[in-house]
Amino acid sequence: MANRLEGKVALVTGGTSGIGAGTVERLASEGAKVVFTGRNEDAAKSICDATGATFVKHAVDDAEGWAGVMEHIASKHGRLDIAFANAGTEHGDASVEDVTVENWNAIVGVNQTGAMLTVQHAIRMMKDNPGGATGSVIINSSMNAHRAMGNYVSYSVTKAAAVALAKSAAIHCGNQGYKIRVNAILPGVVETAMIRGIIEASGDEAGTRAIYEGMAPLKRMGEVEEIAGLVAYLGSDEAAFVSGSEIVIDGATTAGMMGV
């Protein structure tokens, strides 16, 4: 991969697996120096070894812990050019009738407050970048921001909030005269280790896989690398005029109805 991101420093939250890990790999392969966060130290070590990225153990909704993350980036690299607010969860989610307030709060904490903290800390560092206030922030929303799921109320609501977060932050940066862009990406179902785990644990692997694959008219799930390619585009100077946008990447799942 050519060095489109040479000289850039990137932060990826939730970088130890799935789309996050794939993005760490992709950004590093294009020349970026990458710092990623998460909770799984064992998984992090092999990613660091493979990519040259560095890891800070941090849960995205731990507000106090953010100072340590930013201190690591500042002392190691002295700037921040790309931030991918990727950490997310749907653990314990249910329908609006059944969800417990504890689980709702936990999901809001990670998906919504965690994303806000990522954008906030990224902008605070990017605005002081040597050479001027520049950077690109990408928030990992979901196609469910546009099409809600009845049995995942907290996930659907927080992913819709992530889109508004991107737009608000983009407008703020414009108002302040920062050359910092903020965008949201809205993936469909992506074949991550988490989804593979759900398929394997379902008791009917072939049937469950077919349900996931059948959601998209394209009749397959997205690959982690395909999402990482979009993040790399938005992170690069290629997307210098893209801000406040929401980009759906879902194999036409939400483009319309599949028909009969």
């Binding site: 050519a2 060095n3 737009k167 005029f241 406040g244 036409a252 483009a255 028909g259």
Partner: protein, 272 residues
Amino acid sequence: MSNLGNRRLEGRVAVVSGGLRGIGLSTVERYVAEGAEVVLTDLDDEGSDAVKEVLGRIGNSASYLRANVTEEGDWQRVADHVTQRHGKLHILVNNAGTDLTGPVETLSMEAWRRIMAINVDGVFLGTKHLVPLMAESGKDVKGGSSIINVSSIMGLVGMNEVSAYNASKGAVRLFTKGIAVEFATKQMPIRANSLHPGFVFTPLLNAGFQRWVDSGVAEKPEDLVAMVAGNTPIGRLAQPEEIASAAFFLACEDSSYMTGSEIVVDGGYTAQ
């Protein structure tokens, strides 16, 4: 752009309508820099100075055909030319377009039909006549062939005295989603996405701004540029290259899971 010319479209063939100027020309240049062979179409005569200048600069990687996007016979000629010259087609950029402004009660039926013919019929006809070849060529490419329909932010939101253009670009947006779902459902290896530029420095923008100046909306075009820049969060208008880079992303394998989607490149204009 730092990654210009990494030749990520080596071996690919592209058709770009309205390829002689503005966003179309920038897209042609970018695709050639990435190693693609490009057939560009426009309304200028094949021996015109504009054609000679562009082909002279780009060289053998590009060929030009005079084709009116509203004429079905012209698209048949484009399909024949691509088949004979290249035998394959991976990328179609339905870019040719025109604008129309004015109070709705003053728009003539003729003017309405003209903009619909160019902006909507043109996208339909280009798609219709090139899809068979693209379906074949798409088998060899990750994610398949790629159709990129150039809509506009005016295909997403309305604007004062822009109703006909709004309608035409809105049609492009949903035509794109329709064909995306259709191709995916049939497992035809073609993706389709729409591109929605905001205000971009192009000959079409200059002409539109001049018309507004002539009608007394502003004193000079520079005032309109300053006004639009002031209303854009990024604080400026786009260069055509910044739209071409999105057209490149949609053409290359990095966007292999994107179909039926849209990319807005407007500096935050419609996020507000």
